[in-house]
């Protein structure tokens, strides 16, 4: 029996991102989202919070219109697409876009393409949407195929299909898993990403937890990561998906590469089911592992996209983790939180923030942290407030931390 192979960074086939699809509060394509993030445009606005509203005015990073999927990659017509649950739409549209972008709109049947969907509360969202439409799925003793199974069927994908959940880090774990499948040779290409949708129950639950910002006078000012006046996060929604391929495969077919998924680090705080861990050691360990995995030294990092959601405890803890992991380089490496513009996409956050990193690589500029008027002394980092900063960006790291103490860091490198 062959032992399980262990690869070092040096002998590993790089895994490249060859297709991007995104539906988000700041844009429904990679160019749109990149432009908005680098222009510092907020996607946060007032919303109808639905039947469980705690306040007359609530706000979120909401998506107005989800574009129907490109017909070249998806057999659904616009009418059938419109009839899908919103959560499904947040996957179908960007997956189709990523396939088209990668040049895989057709001719997929002879290839093994996998799918890893980062999604933490699929059933809760589905049961709620059905119940509010007078359905009774939540009461019925049935077990239906999951969204990832339906997506694999819809797109005729023959590789493995798995849902991963790690709260706000869910879609980052999905990206990591897809990379491993490619390294193992279990798939020829892999769709990876995640999504989430606003829902009355989750808005109420996070409001009751006092985790949400209550700054309702100006929604665009509410998401204030690292600012001393931050008072909680702003929920968002959307989906972001990527096509991953081994570099040799991408090169041989002439595919464009946005960048390399070069490193992954994962750890757990083992601290509390809900509250952020104030000890930065485990979060820092995830960052360090990701840099080591990518073969990158701290002083080679050109940008950190922080998880920083705008919670008082979480942002300060992350600042400590970044300092611990980067050491002296933390004085130099620019750090920003794009949640200041998009809100917090929860299960889809890690994937969306990988989009922000790709934007930095593509445009050689660091997206800003909006509303960072008075940086908190407890978050002493090289911030990029208000406006994008031109910079040579070859290596970007992206942090994602979730309920249950899941820590994840991705390192993306220019192609």
């Amino acid at each position: 029996m062959d032992a399980i192979e262990q690869h070092s960074q040096a002998d590993r086939e790089p895994v490249m991102i060859t297709g991007v699809g995104v539906v988000s509060p700041v844009g429904n394509s990679f160019p749109e989202a990149a432009d908005a993030l680098l222009a510092g445009r907020s996607g946060v606005r007032s919303i109808d919070p639905g039947p469980f509203a705690r306040e007359p005015v609530q706000f979120a990073g909401a998506v107005n219109d989800i574009p129907p999927p490109d017909a070249a990659a998806c057999p659904l017509d616009p009418t059938a697409f419109a009839a899908l649950p919103r959560l499904d739409q947040f996957c179908v549209s960007p997956i189709a876009a990523a396939l088209v972008d990668a040049g895989l709109a057709s001719g997929r049947s002879s290839r093994r393409i996998g799918l890893v969907l980062g999604l933490g509360a699929e059933h809760l969202k589905a049961w709620e949407a059905d119940y509010l439409a007078d359905g009774c799925q939540v009461f019925a003793p049935t077990c239906s195929p999951t969204l990832v199974q339906r997506l694999a069927s819809l797109f005729s994908l023959t590789g493995p299909a798995v849902t991963t959940a790690a709260a706000c880090a869910s879609s980052g774990y999905a990206m990591a898993l897809g990379r491993t499948w490619l390294e193992a040779g279990w798939v020829d290409a892999c769709l990876v990403g995640g999504c989430d949708t606003l829902s009355p129950t989750s808005l109420a639950a996070f409001y009751n937890l006092r985790a949400l910002s209550r700054r309702s006078d100006d929604p665009t000012k509410a998401s204030r990561p690292f600012d001393r006046d931050r008072d909680g996060f702003v929920m968002g929604e959307g989906g972001a998906f990527f096509v991953l391929e081994r570099k040799a495969d991408a090169t041989s077919r002439g595919a464009r590469a946005y960048g390399e998924l070069a490193g992954v680090g994962m750890s757990s705080d083992a601290s509390h089911m809900v509250a952020p861990c104030t000890n930065p050691v485990q979060a820092a360990r995830a960052i360090t592992m990701a840099l080591h995995d990518a073969g990158v030294a701290p002083n080679e990092v050109d940008y950190v996209n922080a998880h920083a959601a705008g919670t008082p405890v979480g942002d300060a803890a992350e600042a400590g983790a970044i300092r611990l992991a980067l050491g002296a380089a933390a004085d130099r490496v620019p750090v920003s939180s794009t949640k200041s513009m998009s809100g917090h996409l929860v299960s889809g956050a890690a994937a969306f923030e990988a989009v922000a990193c790709l934007a930095a690589l593509a445009h050689q500029a660091i997206p800003p942290t909006l509303n960072l008027d008075h940086p908190d002394e407890a978050c002493n980092l090289n911030h990029v407030p208000h406006e994008a900063r031109p910079a040579a960006v070859r290596v970007a790291a992206s942090n994602s931390f979730g309920f249950g103490g899941s820590n994840l860091c991705l390192v993306l490198r220019a192609a």
């Binding site: 509360a121 939540v138 999951t146 898993l177 750890s267 757990s268 309920f403």
Partner: protein, 280 residues
């Protein structure tokens, strides 16, 4: 338009890992309240007081399965670096139903702050990590009928995994109902089904185990061209649990296999660690 080249990935060799500890647990819905505050082996690590009071039923059963597996290990494992993969099926449904009914009647103020952290796909994995101090990665997978194959594939992915992201030991915990509870209009169950959990502590290789120690070997034959019909979550979980239980209780030969819905198969067999570490 560029197309995919012929399959050119690394050779897809079988992978084999060792099951260092295992346990199965089954309890009826009406028995679960008593399991929230105790009933686990005395030799196992102490959970924080009332740690499971808000936990979903599958989290309670999954935690008991892990504690029962830990109790079978002669030498305490260094759990701090362990990872957790929890594959549940429709966890949190009873709490979700009751939350929705209450919110429709009383508004958002009635929505519990526990519904997201304790009623999501990730809740079992998070509880195991927090409760038992495991600081390797922890994630939930699947949530539906493919919980078993998705969990197994993810274990092999992590243990195969390259670089420092991987961990040496992963707890795979698979939970589900034999029959999904039927709920009334208030979200209360009208049936008393069995909730089942299987916990497997899986290591990269048997070298980590004492010489001569009996263990289970888990082998993954990666995807072939053909796909296999999916079985139901309950049937596949129960098949695994029954096979492990029969082997442990009567030393019956163990030959359990599961065909993955995407092709490939996983086999579980009994084995002896011939080249492992010397017993203390």
């Amino acid at each position: 338009m560029p197309s995919l080249p012929p399959t050119a990935g690394p050779a897809r060799a079988p992978c084999q890992v060792a099951v260092a500890a295992r346990a199965t647990i089954a309890g009826r819905l009406t028995e679960i309240p008593a399991l929230r505050d105790g009933g686990w082996p005395e030799s196992t690590p102490a959970l924080p007081r009332r740690f499971l009071r808000h936990a979903d039923e599958q989290t309670v059963v999954g935690m008991h399965a892990v504690l029962a597996a830990i109790a079978t290990i002669p030498e305490p494992l260094e759990q701090e670096g362990h990872g957790v993969i929890a594959a549940s099926c429709q966890a949190g449904r009873i709490a979700a139903a009751q939350t929705l009914v209450q919110a429709k009647q009383g508004g958002g103020v009635t929505v519990s702050t526990q519904i997201v952290p304790q009623g999501s796909l990730h809740s079992l994995a998070g509880a195991l990590s927090v409760g038992l101090g495991m600081r390797g990665p922890n994630i939930g997978v699947s949530g539906g009928p493919n919980a078993l194959p998705e969990g197994l594939l993810t274990v092999f992915s992590w243990l195969y995994g390259s670089g420092p992201a991987a961990c040496d030991t992963v707890w795979l915990v698979i939970t589900g109902w034999d029959d999904e509870p039927a709920l009334d209009a208030d979200g209360r169950s009208t049936t008393d089904p069995v909730c089942r959990g299987v916990a497997l502590a899986i290591t990269r290789e048997a070298a980590a185990l004492p010489v001569g120690g009996q263990h289970l070997a888990l082998q993954f034959d990666p995807p072939a061209a053909s796909r296999c019909p999916a079985t139901t979550a309950a049937a596949s979980l129960r098949s695994l649990a029954d096979s492990v239980t029969a082997h442990d209780s009567s030393a019956a030969p163990l030959e359990w296999s599961h065909h993955m819905p995407w092709g490939g198969a996983v086999r579980l067999t009994a084995a002896t660690a011939a080249h492992g570490k010397e017993a203390a």
